[in-house]
C-alpha cells in the first residue's frame, strides 16, 4: 500500500578518529519508563588529564508508546547539576522514533567528571530511548583558534521573519574545519499549520542556508533538534555563522540550546 513519498536532502556525514583524551559512551538498547522523573540511560565518566576545554556531543532516538504524548531527554552534568539539551519530543503515533541531539563546549577540571544521558515520560505514557551516544572531544589539543558561540537558554519570538539567536564571527586557519551549528526549536501550538515554527543555520553575508527545519509538534511544547554539519577548507578570512528562528502565524516560537563551533581538524590521512 502506498503510504506517501519520503524526501531527503542536505545529507552530511563526517568520520573522526578518536584521539588521545577523547572519551565516549554508547548504549544502543531500547529502554523504557513510565516515570515522570528523569532516569539514567547512559553515563560517561572520566578524569581529564589536565583542566581543559571539551566539545560534548550527545544523541539518541526517542519515542513514546502512548500516542500524542511527549518524552523528555537531557544530558546532566552531574558535577554542576546542569541539564543540557533539556527538551521534550512529541509523538503522534506510538511507533515514531525521533532524533534528540545537543552539543556544547565546556571547561572541565582535572577531576572525575560524570555526564548522564537521562529520559522520562512527560505527564503520562511510556517513554523510550535507544541508540544513545555521548562523545567528549578534547578541544585544547586542536590547533587554535577554535570559534565558539552559544545561547543555551530559552528565547521566544513572535516575528514571522527570521531572527538571529547565536552569531559566530571567526577567522579559521586554512586547513580542514569542522563546523557544527545546532539548536532546538519549539512551538507552543500544535495541529494547525499556523503553529509551525522554523529554525535554520546560515553562513556568510549573502547567506548560504546550511540547514532549515520547519516543525509542527504533535503536542504543545514539543521540540525538534536541528543540526548543521560541514567540512570546509577556508581561506584565512572572517566568516559569520548564525542560528535563526521564527514563527509562522500562531503562538510564539522558542529556541533553546543554540550553539555554533568551528574546530580545526588534523587530517589523519597526511600525518
Amino acid at each position: 500500500m502506498a503510504v506517501g513519498t519520503s524526501g531527503l536532502d542536505k545529507t552530511r556525514m563526517m568520520i573522526l578518529e578518536k584521539g588521545p583524551n577523547d572519551e565516549h559512551a554508547q548504549d544502543n538498547s531500547d529502554s523504557n519508563t513510565t516515570s515522570t522523573t528523569f532516569q539514567d540511560k547512559l553515563s560517561l565518566v572520566f578524569t581529564p588529564p589536565s583542566a581543559g576545554d571539551y566539545l560534548i556531543l550527545a544523541g539518541a532516538g526517542v519515542k513514546n508508546a502512548t500516542s500524542l504524548r511527549k518524552t523528555a531527554v537531557r544530558l546532566l552534568d552531574n558535577g554542576t547539576s546542569t541539564g543540557y539539551g533539556d527538551n521534550q519530543s512529541s509523538f503522534q503515533n506510538t511507533t515514531d522514533w525521533h532524533p534528540w541531539y545537543t552539543q556544547f563546549k565546556i571547561n572541565l577540571a582535572a577531576s572525575s567528571q560524570t555526564f548522564k544521558l537521562q529520559w522520562s515520560a512527560v505527564a503520562i505514557g511510556t517513554a523510550h530511548i535507544r541508540e544513545a551516544t555521548i562523545i567528549a572531544i578534547r578541544l585544547d589539543h586542536h590547533r587554535p583558534p577554535i570559534g565558539y558561540a552559544e545561547n543555551l537558554t530559552n528565547a521566544s519570538t513572535s516575528n514571522t521573519t527570521y531572527v538571529d539567536r547565536t552569531t559566530l564571527t571567526h577567522t579559521p586557519e586554512n586547513t580542514f574545519q569542522m563546523i557544527l551549528g545546532a539548536m532546538f526549536i519549539e512551538s507552543q501550538g500544535f495541529g494547525a499549520q499556523n503553529n509551525n515554527v522554523a529554525g535554520r543555520v546560515i553562513e556568510g553575508a549573502t547567506p548560504i542556508v546550511m540547514v532549515e527545519n520547519i516543525h509542527r509538534p504533535s503536542v504543545r511544547g514539543g521540540t525538534w533538534p536541528v543540526l548543521a554539519l560541514k567540512r570546509q577548507e577556508t581561506a584565512e578570512s572572517s566568516t559569520t555563522w548564525k542560528t535563526q528562528w521564527k514563527r509562522f502565524a500562531g503562538p510564539s516560537a522558542h529556541i533553546k540550546d543554540s550553539s555554533i563551533i568551528t574546530v580545526d581538524m588534523d587530517d589523519r590521512r597526511v600525518l
Binding site: M1, G4, T5, G7, M13, M14, D96, I135, V226
Partner: protein, 111 residues
Amino acid sequence: MSFYIDYGENDTRDTSTGASQQNLNVTPGALIQPNTTYFILATGVSDFDAAGTGKAHVILDEADSGTVRTMEIRHRDAPNELRSVPMLYAFDSGASPGNWDDWSIWHWPVA
C-alpha cells in the same frame, strides 16, 4: 583531540515511494584501521508528502555491519515540514576494519 578521516555531503534531494533510497555514501576504505575507535556525525533534512498517514525511515548504515541508527519520522504538516535528522555513532573497528569502511544514509516511506 580527534582526527579527521572522511566527509561527504549531498545537496540533491531525492525521493522514495517504497524502496530504500541511498542519498549519501561515504567510503573511507583503508583509512579505517584495525582496533581503532571512530566517531560518526551525520545529518540530513527529511520531508514527506502525506501528513500523519505515513512516516519517513532515515537510517545510518554500514554495508557489512548493517544499520546502526534508525529514525522513524512522522511529518505533521506534509509536504511543508522539514525535519533535521541528527545522528551520532561510535564504533571500534576490531580485527576486521573492512566491515566498517562503507557508510550510507538511506530513506524510504513506511505506514
